[in-house]
């Protein structure tokens, strides 16, 4: 917390305010640990609730509408209920190769996740200390993050074309996606590492640990929840990546590309069924990740006790 206080002069706090007569301010506390809620609490609570409703409302509509029967349409009222559109989604040729693209997207996301975690972790370690040219690498990363995905995708596609290589989801699309997940991963790593207490690392060195031992035995276990967070970021960013994959995926689509082409030519609740399925998959992934974090914490807790 001392770092926060050290920042105080930067927060433009006028010194003159300090010398003003001090008024009793107990009722004006913005976050008191006791006492009545100020009126702003109710205003902000309402805003928050409205935000959550707007966030979930539309999505629940499509989940509900995807369970209609064969007469179903794209809008309410709901017509009957069945699993017709889910069956339709995976069996009909006209809705495209959902199964194949789904498969590819999951595989691609897993590969991207593994690479993102490993590379972001190493880069995070590298950026802890200044080195000649670190700013260049940092700006390269920011550039990769903000560059329009479609432009970068086109550039990668043209590059592969010029080099005589075939674009495919596991080469050019993989690279294009990494150019987007890695900057995110490294930025998250910065935040994670800023909370790492260097004393533990120093202690490991003092006890004779080598650099790699201190990384494997001290840093990785301590930072594990943060690494899971990076993994989660990597997975979902890749699973959902569209613009960068468009020109780089080659002849076989990933899931977002498939959804995109569906929005252009399918006007049935199949589209909504796909939304429901992808959401379920996401929830399984998040559930597994959060479960891992809880498991790690529990294990650590019991180790500390025993």
């Amino acid at each position: 917390m001392s770092a926060v206080l050290a920042d105080m002069p930067k927060s433009d706090m006028p010194k003159s305010d300090m010398s003003k007569p001090v008024a009793p301010a107990t009722t004006k506390a913005i976050a008191p640990s006791k006492g009545d809620r100020p009126w702003t609490f109710y205003v902000l609570a309402t805003l928050f609730s409205l935000y959550v409703v707007a966030l979930y409302g539309p999505m629940f509509c499509i989940y509900v509408l995807s369970f209609q029967d064969i007469r179903g349409g794209l809008v309410f009222p709901m017509k009957g209920h069945s699993l017709h559109w889910f069956v339709d989604l995976f069996t009909q040729v006209r809705t495209g190769d959902v199964k194949g693209s789904f498969d590819r997207s999951i595989k691609l996301a897993v590969i991207v996740t593994i690479i993102t975690v490993a590379v972001s972790f190493l880069a995070g370690l590298g950026f802890r200390k200044r080195f000649r040219g670190d700013t260049l690498v940092f700006y390269m990363m920011i550039g990769s993050l903000v560059a329009p995905g479609l432009v970068l995708g086109l550039g990668t596609g043209l590059l592969f074309q010029a080099l005589g290589l075939n674009a495919s989801w596991y080469t050019s699309a993989l690279g294009a996606q990494l150019s987007w997940t890695l900057p995110f991963g490294v930025l998250v790593m910065f935040a994670v590492m800023s909370r790492f207490n260097h004393v533990w690392e120093e202690a490991a060195y003092d006890l004779g640990a080598s650099r790699w031992q201190s990384i494997w035995l001290v840093m990785i276990p301590v930072l594990a929840p943060g690494l899971v967070a990076v993994a989660l970021f990597g997975f979902t960013l890749s699973y959902d990546e569209f613009a960068r994959s468009l020109q780089t995926a080659g002849s076989l689509n990933t899931l977002p590309l498939e959804i995109w082409s569906m929005t252009l030519n399918v006007t049935s609740p199949s589209l909504y069924a796909l939304g429901t399925v992808t959401t379920i998959v996401s929830f399984i992934v998040i559930g597994a990740s959060l479960g891992t974090i809880v498991l790690i914490q529990k294990k650590r807790g019991s180790q500390a006790k025993g």
Binding site: V4, P38, G175, S179
Partner: protein, 296 residues
């Protein structure tokens, strides 16, 4: 360049170690960010035979064409309009949602739970989240049905879907999370004692907001702004779908150009857009040193 303090390394060894750690990152970014950007840059100076074939050379024809065509200005104005509107709404909502979670929810577990509640929809496909507005905003959608039933309108409103309004709604729906997360992060690190001290010193709630909370959330706001601005300016499919083809943005025009194999003009407009983005982002980075704030 400060020498590393913990171990007795010479500066050159520290440099080598740093580069070793970031080398995998660089090995991905060079072929998949630097090289593609250079390819696009090169393509913008090439001539074309009109059938997708590129003739290596150096001509500014594509830039002249892009800069001289009347639609370019219109596209930029449209893109800037969407960007500014989205930025304003996501910033207002994001800031106050983060503020509410950090300073008003007293139970920390509840705050984290509510925070997760906000992030969950982020795990669903963007495209799916976008089309989820159709049953609501459509001509026969829920909002029109409700308004008709209430007698507030007699004809379904057409402006709700396939309009600029729908585009901004979809963007705000998708991107507010990019504001909430970084702002929440930087706000959560504000020491509560600082605020108590300010209260004791007689600061009003507005003073605290203006003099402590906003300045200390600056890095979060800057990071969120970079995310939102670069995503909106680099996006095309929200504009394409939610406006029903009625509006266009710089990137959607780029997409059309690529579709008809007009690579040089597409590349030229991409280079211009990237320059605009670089200018905006470096302006933000100049005001707030994100790296310093994140790693502190």
């Amino acid at each position: 360049m400060q020498p590393s303090s913990s171990s007795a390394q010479t500066p050159s060894r520290a440099n080598l170690a740093g580069w070793l750690y970031v080398s995998p990152l660089v090995l991905v970014l060079v072929p998949f960010f630097v090289a593609p950007i250079l390819v696009v840059l090169a393509a913008s100076f090439f001539a074309t035979d009109g059938f997708g074939g590129l003739t290596p050379g150096f001509t500014l024809a594509s830039y002249v064409e892009v800069l001289h065509s009347a639609p370019t200005l219109k596209l930029y104005l449209a893109t800037i309009k969407f960007t500014v509107l989205t930025w304003v709404f996501t910033l207002i909502i994001g800031f106050f949602v983060a503020y509410f979670l950090v300073f008003h929810v007293r139970n920390q577990l509840l705050a984290i739970g509510l925070f997760l509640l906000c992030t969950v929809p982020f795990w669903t496909s963007n495209i799916i989240r976008m089309i989820s507005w159709i049953p609501l905003l459509g001509k026969e959608g829920l909002i029109n049905q409700a308004l008709l039933a209430m007698g507030a309108i007699h004809q379904p409103l057409e402006v709700l879907l396939f309009s600029d309004l729908a585009v901004v709604i979809a963007y705000v729906h998708q991107l507010t999370i990019f504001m909430i997360v970084p702002i929440f992060n930087s706000m959560a690190r504000i020491d509560k004692k600082l605020i108590e001290a300010a209260i004791d010193a007689g600061a009003s709630r507005f003073d605290i907001m203006r003099l402590i909370v906003v300045p200390m959330s600056k890095s979060g706001i800057a990071l969120g702004t970079i995310f939102v601005v670069s995503i909106v300016m680099g996006d095309f499919f929200v504009v394409k779908v939610m406006s029903g083809g009625g509006s266009a943005s710089v990137v959607s025009a780029f997409y059309e150009d690529v579709g008809v194999l007009q690579y040089p003009t597409a590349a030229a407009s991409a280079v211009l857009l990237t320059l605009v983005l670089v200018a905006i982002v470096s302006l933000i980075l100049r005001t707030v040193d994100i790296r310093q704030e994140i790693t502190r």
